[in-house]
Symmetry: C2
Subunit: 357 residues, 2 copies
């Protein structure tokens, strides 16, 4: 696998340097500890939102920093959790006096480090709440995860909560909204090829010429099974059905917040989707699949969703949470109510999502 | 090469069906002859803009249909020119009484077919002007091209002229503006891998594990030379220098319009870039290169441009004119004046470019 890089050890910093230079009107970079933050941070009185995670999923998360979305993003090395000092310093920098929401994808390293940062920030008097996104229906536990992995719903949660924060939602309500978004979203992904982590130089896994991985994770974690490559419509139907039927909807949602400090379990008993529900349909490219193919998938996914009586009110198609140059894609369905719809439509001005105003 | 497709013969239509379904608020599809047009077309009194070309470069062109950019896009088969009946019917559909500008990338098939459509439309009393984009400095003639190929500047020309049309610019002035944009832009591309045309099923060309193609065309046409894979900064510097120095700036620009019908030659004697010029810096992914790598390139390209005294006023980084799943990227520099800057910043609402308002 060839890459457009210099020294693999400089990959993240050079990429973020380019990002902040191209979007100097929106972003600033803290070099050490490393994080990206809004040029106008802190926004006084607004609840701040900080996310982060391993790099390699661009534009997630740094590409979503800006008005109406994130206040800061903490990038780790490729597919490696960022460290608590990054999150703590980011929280200090963007806290506008109303506290900070951490949006955390459900990977063990991320959870541990965000939790430590939350404790440190709280000890300094910065109110922090954390919400875990765990929307991937593919598998129950995974290489880096207890429970379900966090994938596409993260993008929607950052957009919706970002808009709510702009509208003045206080921290506790913002955390509750974020939990509702997380529990209303379901995703699944497939890979047609592996990606290669720059520092490793070799593909993370090998797929045969006729094989695909059904239920792939965004770090190349194994999915449900390795199956024979199918036609777009067959793959899409399998995926959409896996999301909509989701037999394992009674799941535990690990969450914790500033008040309780310790993780606790919550049972979610609502089935994710029912006839008549309004949804966002999100077809996400893993990085190496052309947009033309993503729209072929969208076409079929919309058909399956409508067959189940779902009303597609909003759509998103493109590379939003990737796995370097992996060929493949993921589907996300998010149940939307009037509030989340209005927040989705609200203005956003970031490098990767930009509309309104 | 694996693809997320059904029957290769349905590739274009299924992809466009997905596009128009996902963006039903913006777009409509004419199934036969095939073209995509603004849902609110024709816009009475506005000069309409129609572009098109072979498919496989998504989001170009159909992803740029919408308010502030194109009124219609005519897609051919993958890497194959659309036919005159598509362009003629699109012109009829979007003409709001003020005529139609055809924006044509410099490939022989496209030029021939757009020219024929222009003649047919003129014969029906629809005023048509055509402008050719030929900004690729890599080679003088190419597999499908006499003169220079049309690449990245096309995106900027469609954005800038689309905004000017919204502001009421009449056809002749719009054509003149488009010519100025075309002559102010320069591009060059590289490939690290080939793409595979769905109907062919085999890679268009083969590159060795340590090779790259310097000056690649967006259909896999040969460039200046096949060279050893270099580091990102070395590649970027070679490319930026090739654009900025551009020794062949005295070039002929084939153009023709409704009045003259026949092509005529124009000499462009301005060197493209001089110290103190304001520019748009556009780093474009070919489809299979991660965004993180494009920002590494942006970082170095900005450095080289500034070393030459250019002032980067605007930036665009992402997959905007692609070559299916090819790994590689192109650089475009566009000299901007106050007018083009203001038009670039004007609101746009299309699937792939969206800002303002």
């Amino acid at each position: 696998m060839k890459k457009v890089i210099n020294d693999p050890g400089d990959f993240i910093r050079e990429s973020l340097a380019g990002l902040t230079r191209a979007h100097a009107d929106l972003l600033r970079m803290s070099p050490d500890p490393l994080f990206i933050y809004r040029a106008d941070a802190p926004v006084q009185g607004k609840t701040a939102i900080v996310s982060g995670g391993g790099s390699g999923h661009e534009p997630l998360h740094a590409g979503y920093v800006g008005a109406g979305m994130l206040d800061a993003a903490c990038p780790g090395e490729v597919f490696t959790s960022p460290t608590p000092d990054q999150m703590l310093e980011a929280a200090r920098r963007v806290n506008g006096g109303s506290g900070v929401l951490f949006i955390v994808k459900n990977y063990s390293g991320d959870i541990m480090n965000f939790e430590m940062a939350a404790e440190l920030a709280s000890a300094e008097g910065i109110p922090v709440a954390s919400v875990i996104i765990d929307d991937d229906v593919a598998v129950r536990n995974s290489l880096y995860t207890q429970g379900r992995r966090g994938v596409g719903t993260t993008v929607a949660a950052e957009k919706i909560c970002g808009a709510a924060a702009e509208r003045g939602l206080p921290l506790s309500d913002l955390a509750e909204l974020c939990r509702r978004v997380s529990s209303a979203g379901r995703s699944i992904g497939v890979a047609l090829s592996s990606c290669t982590v720059p520092a490793a130089g070799e593909p993370t896994f090998i797929l045969g010429e006729e094989e695909m991985e059904f239920g792939i994770g965004i770090h190349g974690e194994p999915g449900r099974e390795r199956i024979k490559l199918k036609k777009a419509d067959e793959i899409t139907e399998l995926m959409a059905e896996a999301i909509i039927e989701d037999p394992e909807y009674r799941r535990t949602l690990q969450e914790w917040d500033n008040e309780t400090a310790a993780p606790r379990e919550r049972e979610t008993s609502d089935p994710p989707f029912a006839k008549g529900d309004s949804v966002l349909l999100f077809v996400n490219g893993m990085g190496g699949t052309p947009l033309s193919e993503l729209y072929i998938v969208y076409r079929k996914a919309a058909e399956v969703a409508e067959k189940h009586g779902l009303r597609i009110l909003r759509s998103l198609v493109g590379n939003y949470i990737t796995s370097l140059e992996m060929q493949g894609f993921s589907l996300t369905l998010l149940r939307m109510d009037e509030q989340s719809l209005s927040l989705w439509d609200a203005p956003v001005l970031t490098p990767a999502l930009r509309w309104g105003r």
